[in-house]
Amino acid sequence: MRKLNALYINELAKVVHKPFYIIVVAIIVAAMFLTGVAGNMSVSGTYYYIEDQVISSSYFKDNLEFLRKDISFCDSNIENYASEITKTIEKLLDDNEYEDKIFVYSDSKVIDSLYQMSYEFSNYYYYTQQIAQYERYEKYEVNNISYLMECVDKISRNEAAKAFETRYEKLCEDYPLWAEAAKSNDFKNMVPAEIPDKTEDVSFYEEVLEQKDYKQYIEYQNKLVSENKSLSDEAKALAIKANELKLAINPDGTDNSQSIRERENAIDEYVKISTMAIEGVDSRGTILTPAEIEEYRAMSAELELAIKKAPVGFGAEKDDDRELFSQMMISVGMGIASLAVLLYAATTISDEIQSGSIKMLIITPVKRSKIFLAKLFAVMTVIASYGVIIFLSFILFNNIFGFGAAPVIFTAITGKVTSIGYYLYIFWDIVLDMLKLFVYASFAIMLSALLRNSALSICVTMFEYLAVSNVLPLIIASFDGVTVDVVKAVMPEASISLSEKIFMQNYPFVQSGAGALIELPKLPDTSFLFALIYTAVLLLVLFYIGFDSFCRRDIK
């Protein structure tokens, strides 16, 4: 034990006395700092990268009312998730301190469900709006038929939907050709005469879209608004002003960039909210209470401000960006640390053999097994030291740049929605990332002992780290007849990550990079226990090969 300890201290002395370690530490701290600076400047556009992973509290706040009222809409699983998340958010929203800063981390299933739910809500509202319009004008836009049918299908579980269904059936009876065309999505063979009063508009609308004449389209929208009998003059003026604003930011309608789209969405949202505040009626036609009207007015004012100020519109509020940069500091630090650790691990044995300094180790009266273990522990220590540096730098810079530290909500391994402190979450995030890194580092040590050539061992390690777990499953999957289960069986590590298991952030490779491009189906979930056992067995195999190779082979 004493000798192992002495060798371990020697290994650490070697690490600390080489400039490499100090340089890497400096780079990590500097890169995290610069990320913080960038975050503080609130560089726009990055929000969208995490849109799929993170749902901001503002999203929930917007939908909270709907979640409360219409939760019965969904199937029971989604309902449970939604209600748990709602409760947790409500509790946290009570502490004003965290308002607008809560991020919900959840697995994609929950997010998908929530988006789906939100989609159903919006369909529902859109649909009821359409009914309202239909009832007012007794006419219908052709484009909405298939959408409408989709809505009907989606909300058929709801009482209101059932009521509509009856009315929809009546619509079909009244206009049989229309109904038939709608069912087969065959709009071209539709008889225009069957759609009273709207035919002209429809052809005009289609023509406009074909020509992509955005200005004419806006004019058409304005015409619709001014003809809308249910709107007050104030609301009409607002809508027309908003349409002009849209025209101003995107004069020919060809700018399809995310920021423009977001701004346009923000403007639509502004019109919607403002109209509700002006009319005192929500989109379903429900009369709003004075308190609700007041709330919508405030939201409208906020949105107006946001539209004027925010360069990227409603979707990228400043706080969202800043939260993102707070997390990006960790990613940047971890990325650099991972490469440094792998470089070190991939050369820890081969460098000694290639330079001849291994002789210094072999002539000490210590078994080779202890030399190997000392090296292994040194690699673990280096990993941990980088973790500590990243964590401390994170706390420091997060405070300096005032990124905030609101609690994090995630679905725990038990399936319960829970929340923990931000720094605690980051701590565990780093620990689990480091564990993952240790698996890769063990692979690197094994290669270093096996190949006894630093350049080769670095190349293979980096290939494994950067390419194999992403590219190889895709290559395997590209063969005919290969199912996802086969990919999973051949390369379990492609779908295993302990940290993802614990935080239930199931984003297997197929959801990013090349996988997303070819739209591979998502790998089925593996259980946490399987991931744990697999990781342990993998580590044991790697250790055994490295250990055996180092301890038994001759050193010539």
Partner: protein, 304 residues
């Protein structure tokens, strides 16, 4: 005398080639044993097996009664040495290299470290990085590291490489002093016979992986092949050969080689002059290992 290193039937194959063939070797306390053989004879391979770098394909190695396989750490604690070049951590200072070795070995005091640095005369450069050292300085540092824990068995593989004549003499003195005063066993490998003659008490001659003989150094000196060789540049080679008899041989058109003790030179000169052979030059050729081997192995070429 205590048998510090006992090697029995040691063998090693590299692929199908048997590089070390069933060798036996004893090194006793208080003696310096020269391990003599040309390049490729198997010296370094045998040493590497003794020091734990290579596994053996047969045979036993015991150091002070500890079997290297069964009691590796106990056996190795009694060994110090340099194999091939003294490869240290070049990016660290000499002192750090010694500190790391001392730490891994255990039980070495600060006073001992300072003492050994002084002994190898590195006190002025010990805090410099090893990459700035000359080969001679590296050899000294290697020696310091080999001696720091006062081993019972010191093994040095070609230790005079890179040393200047003064350094070689110093090394010789250190080794002899260490062997005799500390009652330690020293195993030194070399392919230079002259060096061995001055440094060792006994030599073991190895060729083609086999130990050909073990002899005391004065015993070896008496071998005919160990007698000095004189080169006479003369005007009449055939006449000179006739006069000098069987111990002489021709070497080119103007030179004759004579193997004799130094006492034999004046009489040879007198006889040649008497016979009217003109002598232009007499030079003494260094003894070569080849000569020794030719003698020992009965003239069989030993170079693999």
């Amino acid at each position: 005398m205590e048998n510090v290193l006992k090697v029995r039937g040691l063998s090693k194959y590299f692929g199908k080639r048997k590089v070390v063939d069933n060798i036996d070797l004893n090194v006793y306390a208080g003696e310096v044993l020269g391990f003599l053989g040309p390049n490729g004879a198997g010296k370094t391979t045998a040493i590497k097996m003794i020091m734990g770098f290579l596994s053996n394909d047969g045979g036993e190695i015991e150091i002070c009664g500890y079997n290297v396989k069964k009691n590796y750490e106990e056996a190795m604690a009694l060994v110090g040495g340099i194999v091939e070049n003294p490869d240290m951590y070049k990016q660290f200072s000499g002192r750090m290299n010694l500190d790391m070795y001392a730490r891994a070995h255990g039980g070495i005091s600060e006073t001992r470290i300072k003492e050994i640095i002084q002994m190898v005369s590195l006190e002025n450069r010990i805090n410099d990085k090893v990459k700035k050292y000359s080969l001679g300085m590296k050899q000294r540092l290697g020696l310091a590291q080999a001696l720091i824990h006062k081993p019972k068995l010191l093994i040095l593989d070609e230790p005079t490489n890179g040393l200047d004549p003064a350094g070689i003499k110093e090394l010789r003195d250190i080794l002899k002093k260490f062997a005799h005063e500390e009652n330690a066993a020293v195993l030194v490998s070399s392919h230079q016979l002259a060096e061995m003659q001055l440094m060792c008490d006994r030599v073991a001659i190895i060729s083609n992986g086999k130990i050909l003989c073990e002899k005391n150094i004065d015993e070896l000196g008496r071998e005919d092949g160990m007698r000095p060789l004189y080169k006479f540049t003369v005007d009449n080679v055939s006449l000179a050969l006739e006069i000098l008899g069987e111990s002489a041989e021709a070497d080119g058109e103007e030179t004759v080689l004579l193997r004799t003790e130094k006492e034999g030179v004046p009489s040879a000169v007198a006889e040649l002059s008497k016979a009217g052979v003109g002598i232009y030059e007499i030079t003494k050729e260094e003894n070569t290992l080849e000569d020794a081997f030719i003698e020992i192995t009965g003239g069989v070429s030993y170079i693999a």
